[in-house]
Symmetry: C2
Subunit: 384 residues, 2 copies
């Protein structure tokens, strides 16, 4: 059983059902959380940070799987998920921005990533809507994007076609018996039982009653959606505008996402005048033609953040409970690999090596390393 | 019969019903046009322009009536319309802004209007949320504001209580027989007949099939509504921010309107990224605390503009047709006086002297002056 029908929960459910497991997804309103707001960038390279090599490897592994994943989910659902392969450009405006771009480039070089440095003229030849005021750019051919909402719709259809049962009910608590997760209690008083419970509630993962303390906190993001952008941009543009980050991601026929704030404000749902202003100001500075677009949506959601910005994948300290959360800014990108590794864990009992650095126990005094008895926990929680 | 159930149409209907006329208002969705967007400023003095003395006189006459009008409509409806009498401040930022403020002040002095010049310190003593970066200010105690949406709701209730019949149907055309307006044709094919038809369709007044050519065009305005502004501003703040106009109007308990663009784009309904950005940028510059507010609404509507920025009040060239439109940026303010003068015209046959400069014929080769037969038109259209 999977708690949470966002991108992550559905990918896990779909992959588990394909492997023969009986899966129920419980979500009152599937796809209305972070999946609803996500810009859909598939950008491990332009997101690369020092010290996050394991995360980068996971992200790249997921990106490698994306074309086949998209083909499969589109075939299973009949829904186009809007994969764009025009690449990503990172642009900078002042000397500090350019130094940051050079650092990023050096790091990417070191990792053997394919990145190209562009003059402003070259950047504008590829994306003519870019302002002439930019100072320089990096082009990453491999960083793509997908329409997160379409992907969600497609995954929902694919999962249901594969036999996943979707229960549109509000979850009240984790059902725990003898210290073991045995299902979910719903607000209507009923219960759903299962041999294993996959927690895929995104930013709300830590707030479900009954769930043991896990390191997930909400990181607010405000994001804008615009219309009328036909022909404006070929691919994603990320920018450092005198130290401020903004990205512009085209999707569908004429749509554009502009994002996003990163705010530590708990579950504050407010779309603020200041955030909308700042996002528009920076986006307009990068692509002046944005002024003419129709502003159709302003929204705020919460990324599931963790202490090390990396996801929680695998068995929790409580038997029967498996975590597939904490994806922070990488939820869309990590959807294929998360579905795969959690399904593999639940069918084979083994978490694939690639996911090992993201075991939840890394935050809980590392019992599997320091305490031999804790390995039993891992064994226990492998269920179906 | 009144075509259009916005503020103007309802005020006319209410006043006519009070005088014993049988009145039907036809509007598919009353109060969703310009009345829905209006900031509700009652600001004849801070809006005063050279060469518009007759309009200023009309505006001031309407403002004088406002307190009694509000008392009456509140009593008749039981709905508080949010009259704020904290006055209006006009602030400027650069030398050119200050020259414009001085010119306005000189003109207001000349007209005998009560205006006070304030230093930045004095301005901030009255409105502490104002930025310290402003250069100077004018304070107009007499320019107030009202909550336009509440006023509309109150007028609707008051009018219906007074016997006005509201027909929520879409109007297809003016019904004309023998060159005379005799009612309205509705999209469902039915007809509503009346001895006189008052055209109060705002910006759409000129586009109703059957209506003779009249000088009304849509002037697009984009406007924002925010929440969380408790205590931010006492009264209205209008600003010239290095030549750009913006206003901030507090209403209800914690609301704020920020407006407005003035655009010649026909009936374009688009809320653009550029307009939202510009309004927020200027408002934040005037009152930095705006950044923290919740942006709850962005919308675009159309003011009914005319060649001389003044309304069309009185008989049209077509017998049976009376105009109450073209109020441009003064619709809320001119609501009481418009209801009064049109009701007086329809009951007595005489348009009050105050409204004479706004007779529609001023744009149509002035038939009442040049052609004695045209006076018959005025007599003809007096009906019930």
């Amino acid at each position: 059983m999977v708690a949470g029908g966002g991108l992550i929960g559905l990918a896990v459910a779909w992959r588990c059902a394909q492997r023969g497991l009986a899966v129920t997804v419980v979500d009152e309103a599937p796809g209305t959380g972070a999946s609803y707001a996500a810009a859909g960038m598939l950008a491990p390279v332009t997101e690369a940070s020092y010290g996050e090599e394991a995360l980068l490897a996971l992200c790249r592994a997921s990106l490698e799987r994306f074309p086949a994943f998209v083909t499969e989910v589109q075939a299973a659902s009949g829904i186009d998920v809007g994969l764009r392969t025009a690449g990503t450009m990172v642009v900078g405006f002042d000397a500090d921005d350019m130094r940051a771009l050079e650092d990023l480039h050096a790091y990417q070089d070191e990792l053997g990533l394919a990145v190209e440095r562009l003059t402003p003229r070259e950047a504008r030849r590829r994306e003519p809507s870019l302002t002439p005021r930019l100072r320089g750019a990096l082009a990453v051919a491999g960083d793509h994007s997908v329409d997160g909402r379409s992907l969600h719709a497609a995954l929902l259809t694919a999962a249901e076609s594969a036999g996943v049962r979707l229960l549109r009910s509000q979850i009240a608590a984790l059902r725990v018996a003898d210290g073991r997760a045995t299902g979910l209690r719903l607000v209507d008083g009923s219960e759903v039982r299962g041999d294993a419970v996959v927690l895929a509630l995104g930013a709300r993962s830590a707030s479900l009653p009954g769930v043991p303390a896990i390191d997930v906190r909400p990181v607010k993001g405000q994001i804008l959606r615009l219309r009328g952008a036909t022909g404006l941009l070929e691919g994603t543009v990320r920018a450092l505008v005198r130290g401020r980050h903004v990205y512009l991601v085209p999707y569908a026929e004429d749509r554009l996402v502009i994002g996003a704030t990163v705010e530590d404000r708990g579950f504050d749902p407010t779309v603020t005048a200041g955030a909308v202003h700042d996002l528009l100001r920076d986006a307009i500075e990068v692509v002046p033609g944005v002024t003419e677009l129709e502003l159709v949506e302003t929204l705020a959601r919460w990324r599931p953040g963790t202490s090390d910005n990396a996801p929680l994948l695998g068995p929790a300290a409580m038997p029967g409970l498996v975590l597939a959360t904490g994806h922070y800014r990488h939820g869309v990108l990590l959807t294929p690999i998360t579905g795969e590794v959690i399904a593999q864990l639940l069918t084979s009992g083994q978490l694939p090596e690639l996911a090992a650095p993201f075991r939840p126990e890394r935050f809980t005094s590392r019992p599997s390393v320091m305490d031999p008895s804790a390995t039993i926990v891992v064994a226990n929680c492998v269920g179906r």
